[in-house]
């Protein structure tokens, strides 16, 4: 799909350790990572990438693909500093729109003792190309992790719902 979007240089790795090694030698434009990337998963990888102070890819956008789209999991992914979560199975459209949203939605970075990553309190104005907010966005409540899987719209709203301290 990425090649279809025009990406001509793709770096593929099977292990999160290989990612960290690769990132020490080069700067990448965006990281798209499976949440179950062995051995430690995307959350640990994103956290390590964000926390390492001398890492030239520290502010690189991170998009996490997951088939576990429960609210708790999505919130955890957001809280380690991922820019966006995309639910699997994914289509070219769903991937393209999230990539475009990351590109065209300016978010400041926050650095605290416990968090380094894009501002989780951003105001969502809708996704590019007509993918808009749902009316139910404002009613999103973060529930216990054992809840049902979320659809992509709900994942998007969960990222957006952090504004104004809603989550």
């Amino acid at each position: 799909m990425l090649r279809g979007f025009g990406a001509n240089k793709l770096l593929e790795v099977d292990q999160s350790i290989e990612v960290l090694q690769a990132l020490t030698n080069q700067k990448i434009d965006i990281m798209i990572c499976d949440s179950q990337l062995p051995p430690h998963g995307a959350l640990a990888l994103t956290r390590a990438m964000r926390r390492k102070g001398d890492n030239q890819n520290r502010t690189t956008p991170v998009l996490v693909m997951t088939s576990d789209s429960r609210e708790g999991t999505v919130k955890l992914t957001r809280d380690v500093g991922a820019n966006m979560v995309i639910a699997k199975p994914m289509s070219p459209k769903s991937l393209y729109d999230r990539l475009a949203w990351i590109a065209f939605t300016q978010r400041q970075f926050i650095a605290t003792a416990t968090y380094f990553g894009p501002d989780r309190r951003f105001k969502i104005e809708g996704y590019p190309n007509g993918v808009g907010r749902r009316k139910s966005d404002k009613a999103v409540e973060v529930a216990a992790e054992a809840g049902p899987a979320l659809g992509q719209d709900d994942i998007d709203s969960l990222f957006g719902a952090a504004r104004s301290g809603q989550t």
Binding site: G6, D29, I30, P89, A100, A111, P118, N129
Partner: protein, 166 residues
């Protein structure tokens, strides 16, 4: 870097190369990008059929190992992982029914992880449906085009869930 310090909190704008590249003039329009991505997926479909056959065989073998010892967590994770792969790739490659049925199997594996009893007949029934869904003419059909089959499978899953709830 500009900072708006508030004790130990630093807030600063970030403009990465990704952002810069995306905003530059030109580039591929969205509609064309989506068409090209779909074309790339279509190129992979012949290889996907081979992958699907192999993945199904591996999945079935993993389930057979699991049914001989349903309490074995690593066997459960192995079967569940292969099932997730089928679910995740199916729709992307145009095999919606494969994703639909493997998603139901995933629910079954979730139920097993939550303490449900291994229901061999249920899982075998779903596997039979999955194998059927991977072959023509079913592989090109959507779940809503096979209402009897999908409602039957849904009932089976609900039955398993109710057993877990008890």
């Amino acid at each position: 870097m500009t900072e708006e310090s508030d004790h130990e909190t630093h807030i600063f704008p970030v403009e990465t190369r990704y952002h810069t590249m995306a905003k530059r003039p030109g580039g591929v329009p969205r509609k064309l990008a989506l068409q090209r991505a779909q074309a790339k997926i279509d190129e992979l479909k012949p290889a996907f059929n081979v992958w699907l056959d192999r993945q199904l065989q591996e999945f079935i073998a993993a389930v057979r190992q699991l049914e001989s010892n349903p309490d074995n967590l690593s066997r459960l994770e192995n079967a569940y992982g292969k099932c997730r792969q089928l679910r995740n790739v199916g729709t992307t490659m145009g095999f919606e029914l494969v994703t639909f049925i493997s998603d139901m199997l995933c629910d079954n594996f979730e139920a097993l992880k939550a303490g449900a009893v291994y229901q061999k007949e249920t899982i075998d029934c779903q596997i039979d449906a999955l194998v059927l869904a991977s072959k023509p003419p079913y592989c090109t059909l959507r779940p809503d085009q096979l209402p009897e089959m999908t409602s039957g499978l849904r009932e089976v899953v609900e039955r398993v869930k109710s057993l877990v709830a008890k």
